[in-house]
């Protein structure tokens, strides 16, 4: 027994590959948050009056709120006055061409496996790279523009497409939604904006890569995706951060609007720095993601592979407003060492014949806590709503915790809602069987975990499936118990 525990510990002691810091001139504002901070951020971005008003309303509302404490998380007190709310790598105003992008930045993203040079790009993938508070570069913009697709940084969208931004900003996640949504709405700095025009299928995957670099800063980005009638887009988000002893706050908002028969597939590979073995440092990942299937027959699908962050608080959700609309949530959440995750989804059925599907796979190791929290709500008018939820937990140690909190609120008797849940452990017998066939313990854990998570991994865009598989294995190095 003890032997195999030792082996398992060895296998799950993780090694974070992205913990380096880029030495680059960064423009920072003073620490702390007050109305002046909000005004400074808005002024730096030369925003129109209406956006400043939006921020100020959010800030005033935020001041009336308390941090939520209902999640199964132990969050140390956060001093919001000790955070720097804006950090921008210094570079010449808005890089127009390659010569304007700081080579250090290009190198950083190269190191992360995100080549910013279009000729070096993965085929079929356009990237918006965001470091700290600003977007560094968006690739393939011109190619996409030919189809009428807008893919740019949020700041650029505010400048160039103010009407679109104004029409949709805050319509899915209101600044009144929750504490972190209010905070983000007040101080968000950049992010990505996507608009897919009527009838257009995006010819490539769109992707945003978020990188925290500066110390003592928070990252507050916002993503807004609008898919017009009968359009399709697959969008992927990735994130990493340096290894630091202090915790850093990341509070983002993602809003998706799918109009008639539009389909949006949103995938996340979340690999923020998780802290060290003893739980020191790491990112607090407090994110509000929500999409609305506004049009008839529209579809929004969330896929997430969550391996990073010290604490994760995140519930990508779907409001199924249009008749016959479909919402999906596929999640793999891995927690190791002292990581904590409280993640899941909300499926709000409003339209007739709406369908939702939830597949959640939690994998816990070390001393971590991993919770699934989900709500399936069927409103009185949602005739013939269907939901199927499956929540599985895999335990790799006897010191970790897995919890499931499924909430169901049914107000229409025609609804059919199903929930399945399982809990399992990797047994020593399974590991030994693999070893006897020549597969070492570490590889065996990777094989079993990837097999367990297959249903979700299969939903990822091809280019990222392999990376994500490796990530799962690495996140669990040294953990089996």
């Amino acid at each position: 027994m003890q032997d195999s525990n030792a082996i398992i510990n060895e296998v799950t002691n993780s090694d974070y590959k992205y913990g380096f810091v880029t030495d680059i001139d960064t423009e920072l504002i003073h620490r702390g948050l007050n109305e002046q901070t909000v005004r400074i951020i808005s002024a730096k971005k030369e925003e129109p009056e209406w956006l400043l008003e939006f921020r100020l309303k959010a800030f005033r509302h935020w001041q009336t709120l308390e941090m939520p404490d209902w999640a199964h998380l132990n969050i140390p007190p956060i001093d919001y006055q000790d955070i720097i709310y804006y950090a921008a790598p210094k570079q010449k105003e808005g890089p127009k061409s390659w010569d304007d992008v700081d080579p250090e930045l290009v190198k950083t993203f190269d190191k992360l496996g995100i080549p910013l040079h279009e000729r070096a790009q993965l085929a079929g993938m356009a990237v918006d790279a965001v470091m700290d508070s600003v977007s560094v570069k968006t690739t393939f913009k011109e190619v996409l523009a030919e189809k009428g697709i807008i893919f740019c940084s949020f700041s650029e969208a505010v400048r160039n497409y103010p009407d679109l931004v104004k029409q949709y900003l805050g319509t899915v996640v209101s600044y009144r939604d929750n504490f972190f949504a209010a905070l983000n709405s007040a101080v968000f700095s950049d992010g990505s904006f996507v608009y897919i025009p009527k009838g257009v299928r995006s010819p490539m995957e769109l992707s945003t890569y978020f990188r925290i670099n500066a110390a003592n800063t928070g990252q507050f980005e916002r993503t807004l995706i609008v898919a017009d009638d009968e359009s399709y887009v697959s969008y992927l988000e990735g994130c990493t951060a340096p290894m630091r002893d202090e915790n850093q706050l990341h509070a983002a908002i993602v809003e998706i609007i799918a109009l008639e028969r539009a389909e949006v597939k949103y995938s996340t590979v979340q690999n923020w720095y998780p802290g060290d073995k003893d739980g020191k440092g790491g990112i607090y990942n407090f994110v509000t993601k929500r999409g609305i299937c506004k049009g008839e027959g529209s579809k929004i699908s969330w896929t997430q592979v969550e391996t990073g962050s010290a604490i994760t608080w995140k519930y990508p959700s779907c409001i199924l407003a249009g008749d016959n609309s479909v919402g999906e949530f596929y999640s793999v959440a891995v927690t190791n060492n002292h990581q904590q995750a409280d993640t899941g989804t909300k499926m709000i059925h409003l339209g007739k014949n709406t369908k939702s599907r939830i597949v959640s796979k939690g994998i816990s190791a070390g001393f971590s806590q991993n919770s699934y929290r989900g709500l399936v709500k069927v409103s009185p008018k949602a005739v013939n709503a269907r939901n199927h939820s499956q929540c599985d937990s895999l335990l790799l140690s006897s010191t970790c915790g897995a919890h499931t909190y499924p909430y169901v609120d049914i107000q229409n008797e025609t609804a059919v809602v199903e929930h399945e849940a399982t809990t399992s452990k990797i047994s020593e017998d399974q590991l030994f069987y693999c070893q006897q066939r020549g597969i070492g313990v570490e590889e065996a854990v990777g094989l079993i975990v990837n097999g367990y998570a297959k249903e979700v991994m299969n939903k990822l865009p091809m280019e990222f499936a392999v990376e994500a598989q490796k990530l799962l294995t690495i996140s669990l190095e040294g953990s089996v118990g």
Binding site: S4, R437, G438, I439
Partner: protein, 249 residues
């Protein structure tokens, strides 16, 4: 010689099960180990493949000139020792294809070879599956999940065919098999016999030995080999049972 066991003692949770085993196996030979329940047959196979539940307290085992007891279980496999488990484990979510490819490639890596190509691998799977008449559907399912008892045993021999071990240990491979399944499994094992490899067949009954002809038969009792002989010893045991062992005590 391929395998040389000298004065092997082993225990589980402080209880001594093997009390001094001596056994030599050469390439090309098939050895049968028989004995009543609890005599230490399965312990012997577990110790040879490095099951961490058991502790070796005395003695030595050399395999192909190497000190076997020094090797990790996965390295023993890569060196060419294969155990057909009495109770094969289910691994949900891991397809037989992925499992076998991982195993085969680990063996290849150990020998300094590149991973096998996808098409060569599938061809090999097809070829080896035929030896034990294993259905394609089973090969695409998760490892042993939902397999019947007979399918699990056939799956073990299929894996053996894929990995081509120097020494195969068949632990009670006949238990829980009906006569048809037994014939399929035994045929598979016989097809895989070469002058270069060897097998240790652990069984309670003589039945399996009608199909897999041993060169030597050993009787294990209370952790020691108390009698060795040719194939005729198995027949003798069949008629006399194991009770005479107790009388000799």
């Amino acid at each position: 010689m391929l395998l040389e066991i000298k004065n092997l003692h082993a225990e589980i949770n402080g209880k001594e099960i093997l009390k001094g085993i001596d056994l030599t196996v050469n390439a090309g030979e098939v050895h049968a180990i028989m004995g009543p329940n609890g005599s230490g047959k399965s312990t012997l196979s577990s110790v040879l493949v490095g099951n961490p539940m058991f502790d070796v307290t005395e003695g030595s085992v050399r395999f192909g000139g190497k000190d076997l007891l020094e090797l990790e279980p996965e390295d023993r496999s890569r060196e060419g020792i294969f155990l057909s488990f009495q109770y094969p484990v289910e691994i949900p979510g891991v397809s037989m294809v992925n499992f076998m490819r991982a195993a085969l490639n680990e063996h290849r890596k150990y020998k300094g070879l590149d991973p096998i190509s996808a098409s060569d691998f599938l061809k090999l799977m097809r070829e080896k599956r035929a030896i034990v008449e294993l259905d394609n559907k089973l090969a695409s399912r998760s490892v042993n999940e939902g397999f019947s008892g007979g399918e699990k045993k056939r799956n073990e021999i299929f894996q053996m065919a894929m990995l081509e071990p120097k020494l195969a240990i068949l632990d009670e491979t006949d238990s829980g098999l009906d006569i048809d399944a037994l014939r399929v499994v035994a045929n598979g094992v016989n097809q895989l016999r070469t002058p270069e490899n060897a097998a240790i067949v652990i069984t309670h009954y003589q039945r399996l030995l009608d199909y897999i002809k041993p060169d030597f038969v050993h009787v294990l009792y209370k952790g020691r080999i108390v009698k060795s002989g040719g194939p005729e010893l198995a027949l003798e045991l069949e008629t006399k049972g194991y009770d005479w062992l107790k009388e000799n005590e």
